[in-house]
C-alpha cells in the first residue's frame, strides 16, 4: 500500500515516514505543494495522501481543491497545526476525508489511515475476507483457509493490493507501483519472487496467474471454503 506524505518539516517527515514504513506501507515523502502535485500527477498508485497545509510553493488546501476539481477520489488525510474549527470545516468541505491536528500520536494516525483505506475500499469491517483469505490490517496477520500464515511486510502489501478489488487482476507493473516507493531498488523479478514465496506458504492455487494480465485472487473453491469452515 503506497502513501504520499506531504510535509515540509524535515523532522516530522522523517519520523512519520519511518513509522508508516514500520506499519508496512510504502511511503513517498515530498516537502512542498508543487512536488506533491507532480507526484500525484505522475503516480496513480497512491492509496492515500497525508497532507500538511502550511506548505511552501503551494498551500495544502489549494492542492486539495485542485485534486478534487480534477475528479481524483484518492483519500486525503490533513495533518496540520491549524486547529481552529473554521480551518477544519474548510479542510473537510474542500474534500479532505479526515483532519488530524498536530501534535498527534502515531497510533492515532495509523488508525485513521486504516479507517480511511477501509472506507475507500467500500468496507465497513476492518478485516478483509475473500477467497479464503482473512487479512487484519491492524495486526497485519494473515490466515488462509483457517490457517495462520506468516508473511513479510511486502507480501502482506501484495495480498492487500490483490484483495482491494477482488477478482480483478493486477499487472506486475501495477503491483510494483504499489509495493515500492521512489528511489527503491526493484529487482526485475521481485514481484514474481514475492508471488512465488506466497504460493510456497499458501499453496499454488491461492494466487492465479492470468496470462498477459498479471495476478488475481479468485473466490475460494467450494470444498476449500467448507474445510475452512469445519476447521474453524
Amino acid at each position: 500500500m503506497r502513501l504520499l506524505l506531504v510535509e515540509d518539516d524535515a523532522m516530522i517527515g522523517t519520523g512519520v515516514r519511518a513509522a508508516l514504513r514500520q506499519d508496512g506501507y510504502v511511503v513517498d515523502w515530498v516537502q512542498d505543494g508543487a512536488a506533491a502535485e507532480a507526484a500525484l500527477a505522475a503516480e496513480p498508485a497512491f492509496a492515500l495522501v497525508l497532507l500538511d497545509l502550511g506548505l511552501p510553493k503551494k498551500d495544502g488546501l489549494a492542492l486539495l481543491e485542485g485534486l478534487r476539481r480534477r475528479g481524483k477520489r484518492i483519500p486525503v488525510l490533513i495533518i496540520t497545526a491549524r486547529d481552529a474549527v473554521a480551518d477544519r470545516v474548510r479542510g473537510l468541505d474542500l474534500g479532505a476525508d479526515d483532519y488530524l491536528v498536530k501534535p498527534f500520536e502515531l497510533d492515532e494516525l495509523s488508525a485513521r489511515i486504516r479507517a480511511l483505506l477501509r472506507r475507500h475500499a467500500g468496507r465497513a469491517e476492518p478485516v478483509i475476507e475473500f477467497g479464503g483469505f482473512r487479512l487484519d490490517p491492524t495486526t497485519r496477520k494473515v490466515s488462509y483457509l483457517g490457517r495462520d500464515v506468516n508473511v513479510s511486510g511486502r507480501e502482506f502489501s501484495l495480498l492487500t493490493a490483490l484483495l482491494e478489488r477482488p477478482g480483478r487482476p493486477l499487472s506486475r507493473a501495477q503491483l510494483e507501483e504499489r509495493l515500492y516507493g521512489w528511489g527503491e531498488e526493484i529487482a526485475s523479478n521481485s514481484v514474481e519472487v514475492h508471488v512465488h514465496n506466497l504460493r510456497r506458504k499458501l499453496g499454488e492455487r491461492a494466487i492465479r496467474t492470468v496470462r498477459g494480465a498479471g495476478y488475481v485472487i479468485d473466490e475460494a473453491p467450494a470444498e476449500a471454503c467448507r474445510s475452512a469452515a469445519s476447521s474453524s
Partner: protein, 435 residues
C-alpha cells in the same frame, strides 16, 4: 483634596481677607476722622467757656449739650478747682493743648486751655471715639461676612460646572470594560482638558498596539511550537515502538535532536519577547562591535566545528556604537548562528566589524545557499522560513536581528556574498567616535 474644595476654600479665604482688610482700613480711617472731630469739639467747648465769667460755668456747661461722659473742669488763676461738671475725683492738671491721661483705669482725651485768669479742661473718654469707629467698620464687615455662605454656594456650583468634563471623563473610564482600550471621546472638551484626553488616547493606542502585537506573538508562538512538539511526539512514539537496540538508539538520537530544536525555539522566542519594540534603550552603553564579533565567534566555535565550518574573524577594527549590550549580542549571535546553520558542511562563515563613512558596521558572510532577492524582504518576518529550507530553524533569527537593528536606528541589508555565492548581512550603525 479635590480641585472644587480647594478653589472653594481659597476663594472664600480671599474674600474674608479682603473683607477684613477693607474693614480694618475703614476702622483706622473712621477713627482718625473721629479723633479730629472730637478734638475740635473739645477745643470749641473750652474756647466757648474761656470768654465767659468764671462763675457762669456751672450754668453754661449743661447748655452745651454734652453727653454724660464729658467732663469739664475749670481752675482759677490760683490753682483752685472752680468748677467740675461731674462728681468724683478731678482729672489731674495737664499741660495746655491735647493730652491723654488715665484716671481710675480709664483713658481720657483732654484739651487744656490756658487763659490769664483760669485753666479750662474739657475731657472725654477715649473709648467713646474708638467705639464709634468700630461700629462703622463692622457696618462694612458684617454684610461681607454674611454673604460668605452665599458666595460659597455660588463658587461650589460654578466650579462644579467647570469641572464637569473631568467628571464625565472619569465616569466614561469607570464604565468601560476592563480590557477596553478604545479611545475616549474628544469632542466638546474645554481647552484645558482636551490635551490630556488626547495624550491619554495616544497612550491607549500605543497600549492597544502593544497588546495586539503581544497577542499576535503569543498566537504565532503557540502555532510555531506545534511543529517541534509534533516532531517530539512522533519521535517519542517511535521510541516506544522500537524493538531492537539499534532502533532504540536511532529513536533516542532523533528525540534528542527534537528536544534541542524545541529548546532553541523557546529560547529564541524568549529573546524576541524580551526585545520590547519601540521601548527606548534602557541605558545605552558603549559597545565595541569588534569585541562583540570575537565574543560571538568564540561562543559559536563548537557549533561551527561540529558542522565542519570554518569560522573566521576578518577586518576587526575599532567600531563602537551606543546601545543595549544584551540586545546587540543577540543580534550578532543570531546572524552568525544563522550563517553557520544554513551553510553546508565544509563551508566558511566570516565575521567582520569596522568603521566606514561615519558608520560602525557589523558584517556576517557565509558560503551558504544565500537568499533569493525576492525573498529578502520577507525573511525578516517572524517565523518566516525560506521555502524548501531543510534547516530546522526557528524562523526568528533574522526577525530578532531586525528588531535590535531597528531599536538602534541601524540599517540591516542582505546581499550576495563577495564571491556571488552565499549571503552577506551588513548592519550599519551610527558610529560613536572613540572618546
Amino acid at each position: 483634596m479635590s480641585i472644587r474644595r480647594k478653589l472653594l476654600l481659597a476663594l472664600l479665604a480671599a474674600l474674608v481677607v479682603t473683607g477684613l482688610a477693607a474693614s480694618g482700613a475703614t476702622w483706622l480711617e473712621v477713627r482718625r476722622q473721629a479723633n479730629e472731630l472730637f478734638d475740635y469739639q473739645l477745643e470749641q467747648m473750652a474756647l466757648s467757656l474761656a470768654d465767659q465769667p468764671l462763675a457762669a460755668s456751672a450754668e453754661l456747661v449743661p447748655q452745651l449739650g454734652l453727653g454724660q461722659d464729658y467732663v469739664v473742669q475749670v481752675w482759677d488763676a490760683g490753682g483752685v478747682l472752680a468748677y467740675i461738671s461731674k462728681n468724683g475725683a478731678p482729672l489731674p492738671p495737664s499741660t495746655s493743648g491735647y493730652d491723654n491721661v488715665a484716671l481710675d483705669g480709664e483713658d481720657w482725651r483732654v484739651f487744656t486751655l490756658q487763659t490769664p485768669d483760669r485753666t479750662i479742661q474739657v475731657a472725654a473718654p477715649a473709648e467713646l471715639r474708638s467705639g464709634r469707629a468700630t461700629a462703622m467698620a463692622l457696618r462694612i464687615l458684617v454684610p461681607i461676612l454674611a454673604t460668605i455662605p452665599v458666595y460659597g454656594l455660588i463658587i461650589w456650583l460654578i466650579v462644579g460646572e467647570g469641572l464637569r468634563p473631568l467628571y464625565e471623563i472619569a465616569r466614561a473610564i469607570r464604565r468601560r470594560q476592563p480590557a477596553s482600550l478604545e479611545p475616549l471621546p474628544e469632542r466638546g472638551l474645554p481647552d484645558e482638558v482636551a490635551p490630556m484626553v488626547t495624550e491619554l488616547n495616544a497612550l491607549l493606542e500605543r497600549l492597544r498596539d502593544a497588546l495586539e502585537r503581544q497577542k499576535r506573538f503569543t498566537a504565532d508562538a503557540a502555532h510555531e511550537l506545534r511543529s517541534p512538539l509534533t516532531a517530539l511526539q512522533v519521535q517519542l512514539d517511535m521510541l516506544s515502538r522500537a524493538r531492537t537496540a539499534e532502533e532504540t538508539r536511532d529513536a533516542l538520537d532523533a528525540l534528542r535532536a527534537g528536544m534541542k530544536r524545541a529548546s532553541r525555539l523557546v529560547e529564541q522566542m524568549l529573546t524576541m519577547a524580551r526585545l520590547e519594540p519601540e521601548a527606548p534603550l534602557a541605558q545605552p552603553a558603549l559597545v565595541a562591535l569588534d569585541a562583540l564579533a570575537s565574543q560571538v565567534a568564540g561562543e559559536l566555535e563548537p557549533l561551527a566545528e561540529a558542522r565542519r565550518i570554518e569560522l573566521r574573524l576578518e577586518r576587526l577594527e575599532p567600531a563602537r556604537v551606543a546601545g543595549d549590550a544584551t540586545a546587540l549580542h543577540a543580534l550578532a549571535r543570531n546572524l552568525a548562528d544563522n550563517a553557520i546553520r544554513y551553510t553546508p558542511f565544509g563551508g566558511a562563515v566570516r565575521l567582520a566589524a569596522f568603521s566606514e563613512e561615519g558608520h560602525a558596521v557589523l558584517q556576517v558572510e557565509d558560503t551558504g545557499p544565500g537568499i533569493p532577492a525576492e525573498e529578502r524582504s520577507r525573511v525578516f518576518d517572524r517565523f518566516y522560513r525560506l521555502p524548501g529550507s531543510s534547516v530546522e530553524g526557528s524562523g526568528l533569527g533574522l526577525a530578532i536581528a531586525k528588531q535590535v537593528a531597528d531599536a538602534h536606528g541601524a540599517e540591516i541589508a542582505l546581499a550576495d556574498a563577495a564571491g556571488g555565492h552565499g549571503l552577506r548581512v551588513t548592519v550599519r550603525f551610527k558610529a560613536v567616535s572613540a572618546a
